[in-house]
Structure formats: C-alpha cells, structure tokens
Symmetry: C2
C-alpha cells in the first residue's frame, strides 16, 4: 500500500514557526542543532554546515529495534545505520553503529526530540502529525532513535569538484521518489521498496559524480541508477512529480522546459539511495504504536564530518 | 546481456571424473576439501559435512578487487563476503572479512585452485571452460579469491526443525534463477541483478522458515521473497525452468504435477539471495582478463560452522 505521508493532517505549531531563511552562518552541526532546539531554524537543511554529516531519523518502540537493525544491515545503501539511542528511552545519548567512529565523534550535546527542524509522527502506521517542531510530548521511555546517513553529506564534495547539485543552487529541497525496487525484508519489515533522491547531471559528468560519491558508504555512496531509461526501470511514474521535495531537472524526457530552472539539455537524472526509505518501510510494515521521524529534507546535523567517514 | 554460462564449451577433464556418489561420511570441511583435491568428490556439495559453512568462489584479477569488495558491501544479502586471499596470488592463505571470525577459524589447509569439486573459467567475460576439476593452470600471481556465503549452510538447521529442503531429499541441486532485481552498482560492476535460490514450503511454514534462516546473515539470511506472486515480481519467467540446478516444486502454479516429486499442493516457492549473483555480476560487467569461479552448486567447504556465525 502507498505510505500514509500523502495525507494532510493539520500542520502542528504553525504559528510558532520562524520565517527567517536558514542562516549560512550555521557552520557546525551543533550550531544547527541549537538553532533547531530554539525553533530558530525550521527549514530544510541542505547546504547547512558544509562537510558535517546529516542524518535521517527514525524512532521506534523498542520491540521493533532488532528487526530494524537487521533491515539496515540487509539494505545498507538506502539505510546506512550510523548510530542509535544508547539505551531505550535515551534522547540525549547515542551509541555508534559504525566500527570506525566513536560515540562522541558522531554527536554530543543533542536532544533528539528537538534538534531536527521538523518531525513526522505516525500512530499505528498512519500519519498523525506532520512537520512538528519537536516531539517532546510523544517520546516515551520505550522509544529507540536510529540515525541513518543522508546524501546531503556528499554535496559539499560535489560542489568542491565543480558539480554543485541543482536543488542547492535553486534553494529547493532535493526531489525524492518512491520506486519498485524491493528492500530485502527483515522480520516485521516486509514489503518495503527503495526511496531515491535525484540530482540531474550531464551524461559526461556521471562517471566523475560516481567517483566522488563512491567513498561515502555511510551516506548512500555512489548512485544506484542513472539515465532516462532508469526512470522506468525504477518504476518512477512521473519524474516531474516527486513524492517529496521539488523538481530540479531542466528538461523532461519530452524536452519540455521547466520554467525557472538553469541547466542544459544534455542532463539526465541520477538516482541515489535515500534515507526516507526506512520511514516508508516502517509505514508499510503496519507496525503498532507511535513511530516518529524527521520531515523529509529536515535532517539532524551531526558533529562528524565527511573526511572522517570517506573511504578510498 | 544474459551471462555466458548457458553455452556449452567442452567439459574439461571429463574422463578423470569419479562417478562415485558423494560420501555422507565426509563430515568435516577439511574432509570434503581433501576429497575434492584428490578428485574423489566431483559432485554438488549440498548436504555434505552438515553444519559446516559452504562458500561460493569468485577469483578476479587484482585490479578489480576494490570494486568487488564494494559490490559485496553494498549488496550483502546476495553477496555476503566472508574472506579473501591474504594477498594477491595467494591460494593457500585467506584473511577474514568478518569482524567476528578469525582467519584460522574460517579455513586452514586449503588450496583454492583444487578444493571445490568443479570450477568455471571466463576469459574477457566469456565462458571459456565449464565444470573443470581444478584451475591450477589458470591461476596467476595477480589473482585474488573471494569467498561468499552459501545458503546450503542453513539447510542443516532447517532439517533439524523438521523443514528439510526438497532438493536434498531428492538428491538434486537447488534450483537457481536470474531475477530483474537490480544490485546496487559499485565501480566497474554495473548492470547486475540478483540471482536467487528456491526452496518450496507450505505457506503455513514460511514464518518458521524465515525465523530459522534469519540469523544466518553470512549465508544470505532470511528469504528475500515468497509466494506465487513473487515469481512475476522477481521477473522469473518459468519456475519450472531454473537457470541453474534442478526443479524441486511439487506443483506448478497451474497445478501440474511434476512426476517424481514428493510434497503437497499447498507449497509455494520461497526465494533466497544466492551466491551465484557475484559470478553473474562479474560477467555482466564485461571485465577483461581471466576470471574463475566454482560451478553453481559445487561449493568450497569451510572449517567454520553455523553455530559460529548464527546471530540471535
């Protein structure tokens, strides 16, 4: 079944939202977390605190934790598990799930309930609240938070190589799509499929883009597919209608120009595994109780930096 | 393109092959390896040395080793990497790729060129020799062997739970199928898809089968799909015509009884990731030079046993 995130429950806390644009002076993970904690920052986090890793969040009742770890282990490209709550109920202390990184290196001074710009709340696999500023009233002693790598993390490296992604140039959220590529099931988590993010590049740039992102195994690594034929192969119905985020291609396959874009005709879509995947997988599993997550594009910023995780 | 393993080059060493059936007295990994080394054992290895892990082999020119490791890391369900040559050129010494297992625990006293019952040899991605008894004349100082987990390894546990697989009961090779489920590409390894093995079970047995095999993450773990609708979803054209191995279902979807089978009408196909996947992926990548592998079903037996790797 299609996940429940298409419905539109009331936007929580709407009147409290600051309308100021994200400040590019937020140059560290901690600065971004503190800005979220005070509700100063409530927007998407793409481009903030360059070189700092950004994480997807999924917060589950503890009885589902073991199956979720297995889902990540079996599907490391869309679901690269970086860290989790140190114990059930802990929202201030995490433990590393990565052999190469210490707990403190990943994250310190955190309140997982408040340090992402916006959150989603699901009850019994149905969306209950959308784009909340915090989840303090939902968190219980039985909840376990999982931090999953995000492809925003390699955008600094792409920019440095002269391959800045379109959505950052346009100040938009990256476009994300559901696909028909099955996840390997794990315990209660059956029936899930990959979610992908998309960045347009010229065909001649793809090998370089693959090389640059290849080492970022903690944040989805190299693309999973590219080119116009990949759109149908992944089961994406309409490249101009992402399931989350905003369009960022210059031209559709039919050559139709999309108004305010910049770019060139030779561009093709390039798809990466996306950390919205576990959120979708959890919803499709039809699990019971209260599940929480970040709002797509509104990530938790970490202390660890891309040069700490890059693999040659 | 379809891989080259369908063509029929001359069967190497045919006259030297012992026709004696595999002895079930071969109760250790070493006993099986020595029987292969002396060409006493030349058959499929399903059911041999119960509880000992069995491994798929893929042997590559060293320049492709890094990309192949990444392919395994990104696709751990079909390609669970257990160990590799300690250095390029080494066929007697391996190093563990598994944090929980020491080199010696996995395998000692081995000659990778001779210790599987049969081998395939590819040159420039085309099958050159099929079902050879050894690959001594092909091995060079530049070759790196990779050992990939095999689902034969959990068949003892299934049998112990009263869920013995059909192909072992029938003394056949497990049926294996190409699918359209894409692998996550890695460097030169693009365009690969999952290969799956299939064991028929009653629908009522599937949750128990999932539970028993779930902990075997080094040997493909729990199934990736099950039920009749999975056949089309995986892109399998004809369940009665496996790409490797032999049919083992009692009834086709149309209710047609397959002669000498035993079983019941309620059975459905259950599919696991298969270690033939990396062999297919290597062929599809169109890489240059001499590549070697085991013949499907003719595995390298290890010293490590299933209780050493099972995860709760």
């Amino acid at each position: 079944m299609a996940a429940a995130v298409d419905v539109n429950p009331p936007l929580e806390d709407e009147k409290q939202i600051s309308t100021q644009p994200p400040s590019l002076s937020l140059s560290t993970g901690l600065a971004v977390r503190l800005a979220c904690r005070s509700n100063t920052l409530t927007t998407v986090t793409s481009g903030l605190a360059p070189t700092h890793l950004q994480a997807n969040l999924i917060i589950l009742p503890s009885r589902y934790a073991a199956d979720f770890r297995l889902l990540c282990a079996r599907n490391p490209v869309p679901c690269p598990l970086i860290a989790e709550s140190s114990t059930a109920g802990s929202y201030t202390c995490i433990k590393s799930c990565n052999n190469g990184l210490s707990d403190a290196q990943i994250l310190s001074d955190v309140d997982i309930r408040r340090d992402a710009p916006r959150y989603m709340v699901y009850r019994d696999s149905q969306l209950a609240k959308k784009d909340c500023l915090d989840i303090c009233s939902e968190w219980t002693d039985d909840h376990v938070a999982f931090l999953i790598g995000c492809s925003y993390s390699f955008e600094s490296a792409l920019k440095e190589a002269g391959l800045e992604d379109r959505h950052t140039k346009l100040g938009r959220n990256v476009p994300m799509y559901r696909t028909n590529v099955p996840l390997c099931p794990a315990g209660v988590f059956t029936g899930g499929t990959y979610v992908v993010s998309m960045r347009p590049y010229k065909a001649s740039e793809i090998e370089r883009v693959r090389e640059i992102t290849r080492g970022y195994s903690e944040t989805h690594g190299e693309p999973i597919a590219w080119g116009w034929d990949a759109v149908a192969r992944l089961g994406i119905g309409d490249i101009d209608a992402p399931d989350w985020g905003e369009v960022s291609l210059t031209l559709t396959k039919d050559g139709r120009f999309l108004g305010d874009m910049v770019g060139s005709e030779e561009e093709v879509p390039v798809f990466w595994g996306c950390g919205v995947t576990p959120q979708e997988a959890v919803m499709r599993a039809g699990i019971e109780g209260t599940v929480m997550a970040h709002s797509p594009g509104h990530m938790l910023l970490l202390d660890v930096r891309d040069h700490d995780i890059i693999q040659s």
